[in-house]
């Protein structure tokens, strides 16, 4: 399978429809239904659904490339979440409804904040009963009051519906791996934009990118962006079902990179990066949101740390068997 065959048309589609203006319009509560229609018709929402069930049956490693594009373009639609939900529903023999689906993990009936919850039509919820698809409206979505934020707070009191078994690693691992790949895409975009800006912006009679202090910071920024990419690729390498170690490695490294990359991007851009009009913030705000969503680096470190301490293997052996660079 040639990955580029699937990734390039998707990249073109996102470039075409997900302009900064479109991203801003969606963030301000604009109607996204025609955008969603286009995505739906493209067939990519069933990227992870098996070919027998009518999907594209793509490897998770290829889908990683699609997820990175979602991050790169700060796409304000839950395309990655819907891909995962549709695959999980299909594996459980359930029909997936049209419309955007987001993913949530509930403990008891405590409220949960879910990225892009305000524009979702459905929520795939993990709770004690397993996985259940709810209508978004049934969870009484509330905005967060954060500027430009489309996430929503959901709460369900009574749990009912057609539940099915959750994946062994839990839904949070799936969402975290998606976030990690999106962070990698956004981080790469930010490194390139920041390097371009540093080459253009002149102070003291020369481009600021000629200053060694900035070069060194930009180099470190690039290292962490590449680490996020490799960590999330590594997380996807094992395919479905996703293992806790795969999700943990990807999200730990990517979340750590997210804050560092966002900080350096802003530092190099100076004041203009703080302005709403300038596009930088579309990406840096996302990085901070995705860093914390579905478990920060600390959360996943604890999961991975417990698994590591349960093993008597040497570190390299542990890593080789729990996190192979190729399909298991």
């Amino acid at each position: 399978m040639n990955a580029a065959e699937f990734i390039e048309p998707f990249a073109r589609l996102m470039d075409e429809v997900m302009t900064p203006a479109a991203v801003r319009a969606a963030e301000r509560g604009g109607d996204i239904s025609s955008l969603w229609q286009m995505v739906q018709e493209s067939g990519y929402l069933d990227a992870l659904v098996s070919e027998e069930a009518g999907g594209a049956g793509l490897d998770l490693g290829v889908v990683h490339g699609l997820w990175q594009i979602l991050g790169r373009r700060a796409v304000p639609l839950p395309i990655g979440e819907t891909m995962l939900a549709r695959a999980l529903l299909s594996m459980a023999g359930q029909d997936a409804p049209d419309g955007p689906i987001v993913l949530a993990v509930m403990t008891g009936n405590a409220p949960v904040i879910v990225p892009l919850g305000q524009i979702a039509q459905h929520v795939l919820v993990e709770n004690a009963a397993g996985l259940t698809l709810y209508s978004a409206a049934s969870g009484a979505p509330q905005g967060t009051g954060i500027y430009g934020d489309l996430s929503a707070r959901f709460q369900w009191d009574a749990v009912s519906g057609n539940s099915f078994a959750k994946p062994e690693a839990g839904l949070r691992a799936y969402a975290a791996l998606l976030r990690a790949a999106m962070i990698a895409g956004a981080a790469d975009e930010l490194v390139q934009r920041t390097a371009d800006y540093a080459a253009q912006r002149v102070q003291f009679g020369k481009p600021i990118g000629r200053q060694q202090a900035l070069q060194q910071n930009l180099a470190v920024m690039a290292e962490h962006a590449v680490a996020a990419r490799l960590a999330s690729q590594l997380g996807c390498a094992g395919g479905l079902p996703i293992s806790p170690a795969a999700a943990a490695t990807a999200k730990s490294v990517a979340s750590h990179a997210a804050a560092l990359v966002a900080n350096t991007a802003h530092a190099v851009h100076g004041a203009i990066g703080i302005s709403e009009e300038y596009d930088l913030q579309l990406l840096t705000r996302r990085l901070h949101e995705w860093r914390l969503a579905d478990g920060s680096e600390n959360y996943w470190n604890r999961i991975l740390g417990a698994q590591r301490l349960a093993s008597a293997a040497a570190s390299v052996d542990f890593v080789r068997s729990a996190l192979p660079c190729a399909a298991r």
Binding site: E223, A227, S252
Partner: protein, 403 residues
Amino acid sequence: MQSDGHKQPRMNAAIVGVGTLFDTLTLAALPPEDEAIRPAIRQLIADAIADLPSDRRARSWAGFDAAFSRKLGEAGFLGLTLPKAYGGQERGPFARFVVVEELLSAGAPVAAHWIADRQSAPLILNFGTEEQRQFYIPRICRGEFFFCIGMSEPNSGSDLASVRTRAERTDAGWRVNGQKIWTTNAMYSDYMIALLRTSGSADDRHSGLSQLIIDLKAPGVTVRPIMDLAGDSHFAEVFFDNVDLPADALIGAEGDGWRQVTAELAFERSGPERIYSSIILLDAWIAHLRHVGRKDSATLDLVGNFTARLATLRAMSIACTARLAAGDSPVVEASLVKDLGTSFEQELPIAIGADLAAWPDEVVSDDLHRTLAYITHLAPSFSLRGGTREILRGILARGMGLR
């Protein structure tokens, strides 16, 4: 807002079609036939390290054991990337990655053959004459010839192009005068591949440099070991006083030294030794945590953090190996992985020290205590040897179009 000098490029305008930065560095897997080498090399390593405590094993590629290197050669674990015609195994960089990973992970004493196997033999293969290949490479593959790297001088560290040690043409070949320093294993080595000035002056920088293979037994060579801050002597000063060498000491073309050294550094920087220098300490610490049964959330956080980064760095190192396997000279990629890798290696002893001393009532074994101190003291060298952190970041900045 200020002048329109920095009018923003619109999000799409400048970026459409631009690929991923450093996209040649991408996830790659070790081929199964190379993975299959592990059991055999493990067996050999187990015998060599059976009596070594952690703090000795932590020395790994500074641990010298000529007999072990010869055993590796006999068993076919050296020269894995080199052609069979010259006594190599013709297996490629992935096979070498597997063997090197096993050696480092166990802390086997690999210093004797390390440099010859990693960079001298590939250099001779790439740039040497047929006679030079026939003479040196088979003996390197058998673990019989040991090499050292003669780049740094007292006044030429990061600024390598400023080297002053000269080689002048004579009727019979070359005459060398000057001094090298920090030369790892010079006192045990048979040969040095030295970067020397063969024409012009230090002001000519990159032109006028050549590489010569210097027989360290030649008259006029003096090797004076330097003791390091942990009491070991693994590097040395090397003096050349009218050292006469034959014409065929020149390796590659006269005046091509800078280009050759750049290729050599890609081999020097791209291996897993740039992520595994503190691995023996990490394993000793994890064994300690398991022994005392500590599982609080701060501990799990730290263990998980190190594990995630180790897994990622390993994937990055394999990705770099894949570039070598594809025939590239991954100068920028190797710098990226080395800088991130050495940062990790340096953070381990600091964080592990803080952790252990945060639990003063836990009994720490003498072995772990010594290993921690050794790695703590040596760790600053991890981002010096093979090119400093600042220099590597400069290479990255150039790769990003900033210089």
